[in-house]
Symmetry: C2
Subunit: 337 residues, 2 copies
């Protein structure tokens, strides 16, 4: 039996293109002792994967050229040689981007959908939501009455981060790239205001929507948008730095040049801290519990943008950089059985 | 009786010049109830004073045009109407830059010289040393075997910060602007290596002197020197941001443009935090105790560069920006009686 794989054909220089990706046929493996055969249902495409396509040093090992891309996925157990899993179980983990995976039983964990789509394990109960939780709650620490700004506010992480700050009683302003997204974050998510960066003069828009300055800036985008934030940071502001998507597709030798932050950090004694969800592994239980509770109370809303079919993965991935998605961008590969 | 005052004649645009400062004669005041008449012995000139010469928002209120500059000083009590002070006592506080000050008794505190020059209250037992202490010990938190880099390493704050990290068992590399300073920090202070930024290619020099990357970067200077540091930061590095002297004399409308830090903070999950000594007021006792102990054990060495005479204050201040001083730059105004 053969299946489709998505291979890294060559390392991109700048924005990935058709030469970056290649679809290939491969044999479906057979599970040995303590192994599982998994059928891929959903895969998650995330901006950080761009970093793994290059071979520079990063927090995650680079993808190998000629090998499948890897990422978060939800799969269904087709065959189990482990007493911990049964045929039909839904599981999640970091898996090769192919239609079937053979893995050791400790490479995945069971998904409890609680009445939601299995895809929720990749969105509101998955890595992006955990990232939002730790960045906002452990680094941002918003307080009642404070002003919180979230960039990429309609994205996978941003949509959760903004709502978590609202839940703490903060005034929350989201920065987004379209009118549709502005409507989503203010009307559906209940944030207090939206800044649409494509309308220009982000600095003026921020001054208008944040008349009392900014106490927490949840950073997802970097670039000129963030340059406009620094001068407005209040004394003892906190800046969790989760992403800088504007800088992920720089070409070789190109540098991310803009406003240096030091003077703003000194003037307002700001704490700015980079984060990676895995560093908070000891706190996953706390985060899952908080997120599940908030979802079931109706306090945490979320969107998923789902493209259909294994072959749409490259397109869904590239859409992240043009800002096509509202909420979590996923690809549905197959139906559960 | 008249005295000399140093007045802010006009706000500088860029580097201060002869029009910035003005010397003026003024009456010496008379102390009322609970007030003291103080004779200025030493004044401290510090880079942060440049910020107070402009009227933009900063952490300290701007100096008023036509009024005396203010800064840290050591003075001697000439006349006391307070039971807490006697004639002859040495005191320190933030005072007007003039030969005599009349102040309330709670504006100054007594200096205990412990056999050192009274000027030590402005250097190794004063604000610069406290700043070094809190930045290094409360934010940098160097550990045995880690690599610590200090910029402005031969300056008032840097000379203390580097030695505090050595005391914790770290390997310490200082960035300095001259061969003389390089010799000072390695031979006198005992740091492990020096990077001379004026020799060029700071990035290469840092890679050579920090083969295991950088765990703590104590930031005093900003600009291109710091741009070369970011790519070398190790996972979970800490960056206390104390100063950015390279950016203090930008002209109106000019911006501090360079390498954005976000990607480095994410990749290595770095914490970068601005600090101001006053925020740590609750911990002053702890810091004074640690500093006094280290000085008396011979573990903490320090230099003072002292210019003579009230009229040399502008020159001493401007020298900070050309990097003339080794250790703390002070001006001696008068001898103690």
């Amino acid at each position: 039996m053969t299946q489709e794989q998505l291979i890294l054909q060559e390392r991109p220089n700048g924005l990935p293109d058709e030469n970056t990706f290649q679809f290939k046929k491969a044999e479906i493996g057979k599970p040995s002792e303590e192994e599982l055969l998994l059928k891929t249902l959903y895969v998650s495409v995330d901006p950080y994967m761009r970093g793994r396509m290059s071979d520079g040093p990063s927090y995650a090992a680079p993808f190998e050229v000629g090998e499948p891309l890897k990422g978060a996925a939800v799969s269904q157990v087709v065959e189990s040689n482990s007493s911990n899993f049964e045929k039909g179980d839904l599981v999640t983990g970091t898996l090769d981007f192919q239609e079937y995976n053979v893995v050791k039983n400790d490479k995945v964990r069971k998904v409890t959908t609680k009445g939601m789509s299995p895809s929720s394990a990749l969105s509101v109960l998955g890595m992006p939501a955990l990232t939002a939780y730790f960045g906002m709650m452990h680094i941002g620490e918003p307080k009642k009455g404070e002003t919180v700004v979230v960039s990429g506010a309609a994205g996978a992480v941003g949509q959760i981060a903004g709502q978590l700050a609202k839940k703490e009683g903060a005034r929350v302003v989201g920065i987004v790239g379209s009118e549709k997204k502005a409507a989503y974050i203010t009307e559906t998510l209940g944030l207090d205001a939206a800044v649409e960066y494509k309308k220009g003069n982000v600095s003026e828009q921020l001054k208008e929507t944040c008349p009392d300055g900014i106490d927490v800036y949840y950073e997802n985008v970097g670039g000129e948008i963030s340059d406009a934030v620094w001068p407005l940071l209040n004394v003892f502001a906190r800046v969790p730095v989760c992403g800088a998507i504007s800088a992920y597709n720089l070409e070789e030798g190109e540098k991310d040049i803009g406003l240096r932050v030091q003077q703003f950090l000194i003037k307002s004694r700001v704490k700015m801290q980079g984060l990676l969800v895995g560093d908070f592994a000891d706190h996953y239980d706390e985060a899952y519990q908080a997120l599940e509770e908030a979802v079931s109370n109706g306090e945490l809303k979320f969107e998923e943008t789902i493209q259909e079919g294994f072959h749409s993965i490259p397109d869904a991935f590239l859409g992240l950089f043009s800002g096509d998605n509202i909420g979590k961008q996923l690809v549905k590969v197959a139906d559960a059985e």
